[in-house]
Every structure is written in C-alpha cells, then in structure tokens.
C-alpha cells in the first residue's frame, strides 16, 4: 500500500482473446485505483469483461499490456511460479459455485491454503478454527461439502479465502448460486468482513441487491469502464 491509501492501482490495462485469426478485445485501456479497505463491485452485462478484469487483478490471467500494482507489486511482471506464491499470500478467492473439494471436510478445505505456509499443525488448526468461527460454522468443521447447504458451503469458501489474511478478497458472483436469504447472509458476512476486519473486497456481480453492500460500483460495458469513479447510490 502506498502513502495515499491505494492498495490496487490499475493503469492502461488491455486484454484480448484470440480465436483463430480473429482478435476479440475484452478490456480496453482500463485505469482505476482501489483504496485499502474499499468494497468495490464490478457490474456490467455478460461479456463486458468484468470477470476477466477480476482474474487479472487476482493474478490468474495476464494482460496484453498495462500494469496492475497491488501492495506495491506489479503482478503483470511476475512469472507463473512467482504469481502462485504471490496469490497464496495476497489473494483470497470466493467463487460463484464455492469450488470446495468434495472429499475434504470443511476444516480441511479451509486448511488447504495454509499447507503452503510454514505454520505448524497447531497453528494451522487455530487459524482454521478462527476462520470458521468468523463465518459462523465452528460447529460444522467436520462436515463434508455435500452435507452442507449452498449458503454454508459459500461460508466455508469465505473462511478458506480469509484464513491466510490476504491483502485483497476477490469474489466472482458470490451469491449467483444462492437463494435470496442465503445470498443476503453471505453479503452481510462480506460486509462485516469489510467493516470489522477492513478487508479490501473486489466483487463481480449481476445482482443489484448484492452490489448495495459495496462502497463503490464500477460498470463495464464492452471492455470499457463507463463510470470512472462511481460512489454507490443503489
């Protein structure tokens, strides 16, 4: 983070996909900053490039040009191996379909990112129990994903995302697969993480109700940011 409180700085970002001889532009000259502790919602129609932008910020895809500086590190200059290590420490992922490993218990799923750290078994256990307590599933840690409801699965996924205390949390349609009540519970949880733990959250969503929790909403359309610095008025 720099002295201005900016945690993510994106400059002149371009990304296109190639299909045969065809080049399909997805993101066109995207530039904006995200302040530390900000809750940002990226919205836009399907194919507008919001998930691609999220992937680029999260370091799971590489742009054609431009830079993404997160916590002082330009992630576009990192190799695949460096990116893997960087993601482990700096990014917590929340997916639309939870993406839990079905043969592992809630505890083991949350513990997964910690395997990559030098923490002892006892330390890992303490971290996992704390994360599951934060998401309100301390009593479900021995359950397998198949024994949990959709909302509970997503809460386990959130616990997995926060267990390493990452720099940013990225969420791709976190309520997209949930009923309304579960979706509200998840958004309340994310709001609480943002307010109480000062977590920087970048969320892609189609759902205006989910976006209501964000401080800032940025709209993408055909790869272009249509509102440069929109405060949430939803």
């Amino acid at each position: 983070m720099d002295s201005s409180g900016i945690i993510v700085s994106i400059n002149g970002l371009n990304k296109s996909y190639h299909r045969g001889d065809q080049t399909i532009p997805v993101l066109n000259d995207i530039s904006f900053d995200i302040a530390e502790g900000e809750f940002l919602a990226l919205m836009g129609p399907s194919g507008s490039g919001k998930s691609t932008l999220l992937n680029l910020i999260a370091g799971i895809d590489q742009p054609d040009s431009g830079s993404i500086v997160i916590g002082g590190v330009d992630v576009t200059t990192l190799s695949e191996t460096e990116l893997a290590g960087w993601r482990a420490l700096n990014v917590g992922f929340i997916f639309q379909f939870y993406n839990l490993i079905p043969v592992l218990t809630a505890f083991e799923n949350v513990e997964l990112p910690l395997i990559l750290t030098p923490l002892s078994r006892a330390e890992r256990k303490a971290h996992v129990e704390m994360a599951l307590k934060v998401v309100g599933l301390a009593d479900r840690m021995d359950h397998y994903p198949g024994q949990l409801s959709g909302g509970q699965e997503q809460r386990v996924a959130i616990a997995r995302a926060i267990v390493t205390d990452p720099t940013i949390l990225v969420a791709d349609e976190p309520t997209g697969d949930l009923d309304r009540i579960s979706a509200e519970e998840i958004m309340d949880l994310m709001d609480r993480l943002n307010r109480e733990s000062k977590k920087t959250i970048i969320m892609v969503t189609h759902d205006p109700r989910a976006a209501r929790k964000a401080h800032v909403i940025r709209h993408l359309d055909k790869g272009i940011l249509t509102n440069a610095d929109s405060q949430n008025t939803l």
């Binding site: 999260a58 895809d61 993601r87 482990a88 592992l104 395997i115």
Partner: protein, 385 residues
C-alpha cells in the same frame, strides 16, 4: 491435514474404479512374479552349479555311455581332486505322472563332491551300508509321504524290471536353490544287476562328475581329460557343470524367451490401465486443480498431487500383488513341483515388482500432469464436473 491424506482421499474418490485398477495391478504383478519365478526355476540348476565341478559325457550324445575304466585315468589328470559317476535311471514310481529325477550314483564319491546336499550322519552310514538303499530329497519325500525304512519300487524304463529300494536317508539343501527332489541310489546295485541280466550294459557310466582344485584351470583340465580319450571308441566332452546344465536349459530357450517377453508385456498392459484411470480421474477434476492453482499451489505441487495419486494406486496394487505372489508361488510349486524342483520367489523379482510399479505410477501420470499444467486457471475454473 497432510498432502498424503489428500492423495489417499483423491485416490479413493471412485472406490470401484480404484479398486478395480488395484485388482488389475495385483493380477498383473502376480502374473509377472510367477512368470519370472518360472524362468528363474528353469535356471535354478545353473545357479546351483559349482565352479569346482566338471561333467564329462560321451562326445556323441548324453544318451551314449562311457566305460567305467575312464575313472582312473581321469583321476590322474593334473588339477582333478575327485571323480564320481552316475547314470540317469529313468524309473517310474507307480505312474508316469509321478515324475521325478532318479539317478544311480557312486554314493561315497558323490556326496563328497556334492557337499550342498546335507544328510544326517546316521542316515548316510545306513545308506552306505545298504546296497538297495536310496536317498531322497526332503521335498520328494514330503510329496509322497515317504519315511525312513519305507520300501519303494521303481519301474525301469531304460533298465527294464521292477527295482526295489529302501529309503535310508533324506537330504536337505544347504542353500535355498538346491534341488530337494532327487532320488539317488547305489550305482553298484544297478551295475551288479546288469551284470546278471544284460552284461553288455554293465560297467558303463552315463557321466562323470569331476571335482577340480582351481576353477580358473577348468578349461585346461577339461581339455586334458578330453585329450586322454581322443580317437578312442568313446570320445568325451568335458565342460563345467554350469555349461553342462545350460546345455539342457538351452533346449527350451525359445519358450523361456517367450515367457520373459510375456512377463514384460503384462507390465506394459498394466501401464495402459493405470494411465487410463489416472487420466480419467484428473480430467474429471480439472476444475479442482484450477482451484488449487488459485490457492497458490504451483506447478510442482500440482504435479506432485497427480503423481502422488498415481503412485498411491500403483503401490497399493504392488503391495497386494507382492503379498499374493508368495502363496500363489507356493501353490504353483505344490502343483508343479515335479517339473520345477526349485520354485522360490527371488528377491530380484520383488525388487523388479517395486521398480516397475513406481515406473508405471510415474509414467501413467506424465500426460495428465502435462495436460493439467497446460490448462489456464480461468479455463479450468469454467470446467464443471
């Protein structure tokens, strides 16, 4: 949670598929182990042969005999320490299916020369004293339930008639590769009978077994022995016991090569089976590996997860396969003991099992690892089981 736990949980996600794959590996290893042991059994006589012994036979063919008088001349050759002799008797015990090797040997010199056959002293003395006595290997006696003092009748094929013998001794092998299925009786008993019934066949020896002082001089001693009988009516060929035994094995060389080839083909088949299982499992979990990547698992760790799972499956099959090989070999030996007197699963076979299983585990995972690492995280996350 440890990585090993993830490997086992992943390996047994599809219990039926993994179980069948392990069963296939088990059966393949069993087949490999038995085939290798059959090949080894073929060579057991060669392995057990001594570098300190030579065998002299008729130069025309083993089926032609040599005069007994050669023994004194052979004994005088420089480098020769002991001389014994014998004949293949070819007797049948009750029925042809009860086949076992039976020889008439010069008892005292024979057991001086073959110190790997251990007989209790009292039994040895009893055997030496009884001209109709015979000595049987431990396995042979066990096979037919013979006890010391039992009278056995062999029906002669080369030497017609019913030949009566009394069991005076049971020998054991000093080493595990010693043949414990041989029947040996006094050459004098055979010779004296022949003198009465077929005098022209008396005083004839099937082969001489010669002890030498220095294995390094085996070739020169052999040459000197054969030189003694050059241009005689019964020329000789003398060779090391190993070469002599190999000569018999060579008759089945093509079959042995075919068995060896099949044993390796079995391993190649199982490689395809394991590769298919691992490829299917990994392909179904492309999405999960993308999740692992997003969590920070690098290429080596992902490769380790896939390789580890493949090796867990193959090594489980390996352990079960090796464990099953020993009782299967024992059952095989019990059923086919007459044809394979020494049928021991060798340590080399077990090491080969382990090496092949590790190799199969590694090779089977190569393509799935390559494919998984090639998939971009974003593409992998879009794939749904």
């Amino acid at each position: 949670m440890q990585i090993l736990k993830i490997l086992f949980k992943n390996a047994f996600r599809h219990k039926l598929r993994t179980g069948l794959t392990i069963l296939s590996i088990t059966i393949a290893l069993l087949a490999f182990g038995l085939l290798r042991t059959v090949v080894n059994a073929w060579y057991a006589g060669v392995e057990a042969s001594s570098a300190y012994r030579l065998v002299t036979r008729n130069a025309v063919s083993i089926i032609f005999s040599l005069p007994l008088s050669y023994k004194e001349r052979i004994r005088q050759v420089d480098g020769v320490s002991e001389v014994s002799w014998g004949n293949w008797f070819g007797g049948i015990y009750i029925d042809e299916k009860n086949f076992f090797a039976n020889f008439a040997v010069d008892a005292k010199t024979y057991f001086d020369l073959y110190r790997e056959y251990v007989i209790p002293d009292d039994q040895k003395i009893a055997f030496f004293r009884d001209r109709k006595g015979f000595v049987a290997g431990r396995k042979l006696a066990q096979r037919f339930g013979w006890k010391i003092g039992d009278t056995i009748v062999l029906k002669g094929t080369i030497y017609p008639g019913n030949w009566e013998f009394v069991l005076r001794g049971i020998y054991r092998g000093r080493e595990p590769n010693a043949d414990e299925t041989v029947f040996m009786f006094h050459w004098d008993y055979l010779n004296e009978s022949l003198k009465k019934t077929a005098p022209t066949r008396a005083d004839q020896v099937g082969f001489y077994m010669i002890g030498i002082q220095d294995p390094a001089r085996a070739i020169s001693v052999s040459g000197n022995i054969d030189g003694l009988f050059k241009n005689s009516f019964a020329e000789t060929i003398t060779e090391t016991e190993k070469a002599f035994t190999l000569g018999f094995v060579a008759m089945s060389d093509t079959i042995i090569t075919a068995i060896e080839l099949v044993s390796f083909v079995v391993i190649i088949i199982i490689l395809a089976v394991v590769a298919n299982t691992v490829a299917m499992s990994v392909r179904e979990r492309t999405n999960e590996y993308a999740v692992f990547k997003t969590l920070g698992f690098g290429g080596w760790r992902i490769a380790g997860l896939i390789l580890g799972e493949s090796i867990v499956i193959t090594m489980m099959g390996c352990v079960v396969g090796i464990a099953a090989t020993f009782p299967a070999a024992a059952a095989f030996a019990a059923a086919m003991g007459a044809y394979f007197p020494v049928f021991n699963v060798e340590a080399t076979t077990i090491w080969l099992d382990i090496v092949f299983c590790l190799a199969v585990g590694l090779l089977a995972a190569i393509i799935p690892v390559y494919r998984t690492l090639k998939v971009k995280i974003a593409d992998g996350l879009r794939m749904i089981e």
